[in-house]
């Protein structure tokens, strides 16, 4: 029963409600994220990284942009099948019906409040549907992976970085 419901969500929502994402991958592999995808991932980053982002708005924006850049690099290293799935997920979320009906976020991603986005993330994290749980997990891993890959995030957690010296 669980799997037929999941199957319904997958084919019903992701399949028909949404666009064709065949354009996700270009010949070279990592296609650049679209502006709307960048806005989505920036909003997710702002919510996920609450507590580590600086208060200064300019710095914050710069770091979020770097995190989104890092996510694009991470995605390009995943299997093609996973890249397609992520393309579908991002496509779902940047579409207005997907954002409103599935994420419950009323305003465009670039204007959504941190609390509103956190509410969406928490709802998917707590969801009984595996599709939403795995989508949350993907956003979680991509965001924190991109953030803590950068050496300027390490001071805040006391990590000195790899040993320096003659190797």
């Amino acid at each position: 029963m669980m799997s037929s419901r999941r199957q319904f969500i997958r084919t019903g929502l992701v399949g028909s409600l949404l666009l064709s994402f065949s354009g996700w991958l270009n010949a070279a592999g990592a296609r650049a994220l679209s502006d709307s995808e960048r806005a989505l991932l920036g909003a997710v980053g702002q919510a996920m990284l609450d507590g580590v982002l600086p208060d200064d708005v300019g710095q914050r924006q710069r770091l979020l942009q770097q995190t989104v850049d890092g996510i694009a690099v991470e995605v390009a290293g995943l299997s093609l099948a996973t890249q397609r799935e992520l393309g579908q997920l991002f496509g779902l979320l940047v579409s207005t019906p997907g954002r409103i009906a599935l994420a419950g976020v009323s305003r465009p991603w670039g204007e959504a409040s941190r609390e509103e986005v956190q509410h969406f993330l928490q709802a998917w994290r707590d969801s009984r549907l595996a599709l939403f749980q795995t989508a949350y997990a993907a956003l979680h891993d991509l965001t924190f992976g991109a953030w803590y890959a950068r050496s300027d995030s390490w001071e805040a957690i006391g990590y000195p970085g790899p040993p320096q010296g003659v190797f």
């Binding site: 990284l49 609450d50 190797f167």
Partner: protein
């Protein structure tokens, strides 16, 4: 720091990066080996030493100590399957597997254990593998231990591991030191990102250089696509060159012909290649009984600095919980420590926002234990199944059953108790609904009630085994005790996929020992030299 790979290449070793091929080609050899990890590396060494012309096929890149910068952002995409985020079909288990020359041996944490005697006894009893025992295998293990410098690690454990010893002692549980395959180890703690000092005696710096020095040819960025066979014999292996991204095919083919084919592509890759090739499988055993040692994770915070990123990643273990029931009873588990680095820790840790940030701020005081469940012995522990996706690439479907969750709960309890005994001020299972506990009493109550389900409770794996299991007859296995395929004369499987169950120990030495034995038998047959004396 000398880089033995770059030095060897400069001296004329034959390495072909298939992503740079300008046209398709066809090559002949005595033996083609698919995969360069524990099984492929040992096979290449032994077969080339017998004077056989060997070709090695590796899907990943050739990288070496000069490339190993100890940075997660580089290491995971370069050296691991799917950037270290390979998942099972339902995405509930994250699998760490190497994908580079040396395979998982290039990125493993050096823990070295012989196959336990009770595992051999189970294989004899259930799979008719009477030729394999702790005694009959002991000389093969000894040879590989000697060759790969597997020995007691005399340096004191890092704090992260020492806390496991301390907790065990306070609870009256036996723990012991882990042997490691290192030579002049600097105790840096970055084994998982490729050893920058060539101390780890992985296949990358031992058997593969030995084979290349004897004229073996190494292809990288080359995907073994399909075995062609006529009657009972493999005639050729068709391979597809990959682009430099390692993901897409480049449109060039490499056709490899040989007298014998050794498959050592790991417990997901090997069955997948045989399935893509449509080799005979009348009893539908290929890709079945794939085991993972499903791993539960418990993170604690200590009052003192732990610095889990520094020092040998695994040097202490306890098997106390492996021996609480019969081997085919409720699942037992091995407990070890886990190295901590920012990306792996942050992505594994549950939650987000302020709660996640709070835990990360205490990164240097974090202490992490792992429990590896011993799957494949209980009658209801059938493991997972490798299936081919639409693109022909494998996916492992591994259902997390009530039997596993029952053991998972015991494992989370055991780890929390050990961590509190070692002085933890806070412990939490890695679980989406746990906010952690401040005492053992609190943890005991809390963990007893945690709902344990896929995607809620984090499960990972670094040990993929099975899928081409060995047995005494084709009704029970894909290959025999020598790794020889039951239906195709000149086909062997020499890697962790031949294990008919999991092992209950980190698998590298089990693969080295069996590969040494089976490659030696094969080398004698193919070269016409006298066979090795097998006890």
């Amino acid at each position: 720091m000398q880089d033995p790979i770059r030095r060897g290449l400069a001296s004329g070793w034959q390495h072909v990066d298939a992503s740079s091929l300008t046209r398709s080609q066809s090559v002949d050899a005595d033996v083609v080996i698919v995969g360069t990890g524990a099984g492929g590396g040992v096979s290449a060494d032994i077969l080339s030493a017998a004077g056989l012309r060997v070709i090695l096929v590796e899907e990943g890149p050739l990288l070496s100590s000069s490339d190993f910068k100890m940075r997660e952002a580089d290491a995971y995409p370069q050296l691991y399957q799917e950037s270290a985020s390979r998942k099972t079909a339902d995405k509930a288990i994250n699998i760490l597997q190497g994908r580079c020359v040396g395979g998982s041996t290039t990125v493993n944490w050096t823990s070295s254990f012989r196959t336990p005697p009770e595992v051999f006894a189970f294989w004899q009893q259930r799979f008719g593998l009477h030729e394999l025992s702790a005694v009959s295998m002991s000389s093969w293990f000894a040879v590989m231990e000697h060759k790969l410098w597997v020995r007691a690690w005399e340096t004191p454990p890092n704090r992260n591991n020492d806390l496991l010893a301390i907790g065990s002692e306070r609870l009256g549980i036996a723990s012991a030191a882990i042997k490691r395959n290192v030579k002049a180890c600097w105790n840096l703690g970055y084994c998982g990102m490729g050893c920058p000092t060539n101390a780890k005696q992985s296949m990358l710096v031992t058997t593969i250089p030995a084979a290349l020095a004897r004229g073996a040819v190494l292809y990288t960025r080359l995907r073994a696509q399909r075995l062609q066979f006529v009657g009972g014999r493999i005639t050729a292996l068709e391979c597809l060159a990959l682009r430099p991204d390692g993901l897409r095919t480049a449109g060039k083919k490499v056709t490899l012909r040989a007298r014998h084919f050794v498959i050592a592509a790991g417990a997901i890759g090997s069955p997948a290649l045989l399935m893509r090739s449509g080799v005979p499988d009348p009893y539908r055993l290929l890709g079945k009984r794939t085991f993972l040692h499903p791993v539960l994770i418990s993170s604690g915070l200590m009052p003192e600095r732990v610095d889990g990123y520094a020092g040998a990643p695994q040097s202490v273990f306890t098997d106390h919980f492996l021996h609480q029931a019969a081997i085919d009873g409720a699942l037992g588990f091995k407990i070890e420590a886990a190295p901590l680095h920012p990306v792996l820790f942050a992505t594994t840790l549950q939650g987000f926002g302020q709660a996640h940030a709070r835990l990360m701020r205490e990164f240097t005081q974090a202490h992490v234990l792992l429990a590896l469940l011993r799957d494949g012995f209980h009658p209801d522990s059938q493991g997972g199944q490798v299936v081919l996706a639409g693109d022909g690439l494998p996916v492992l479907d591994y259902p997390l059953t009530p039997l596993i969750w029952e053991a998972a709960r015991r494992a989370l309890l055991a780890m929390a108790e050990l961590q509190f005994a070692a002085g933890a001020r806070w412990v939490s299972p890695v679980h989406e609904m746990s906010t952690g506990y401040a005492s053992w009493a609190e943890a005991r109550r809390g963990i007893a009630e945690l709902p344990l389900k896929p995607l809620l409770c984090r499960v990972v794996s670094a040990h993929v085994m099975g899928g081409c299991g060995m047995a005494d007859a084709p009704q029970r296995g894909v290959v025999d005790h020598r790794g020889r395929h039951f239906w195709l004369d000149n086909l062997s499987v020499v890697d962790g996929s031949v294990f008919p169950t999991s092992l209950g120990v980190n698998p590298q030495l089990s693969i080295y020992g069996l590969a040494a034995r089976n490659a030696s038998v094969l080398a004698a047959q193919l070269s016409g030299r006298p066979p090795p004396v097998i006890p």
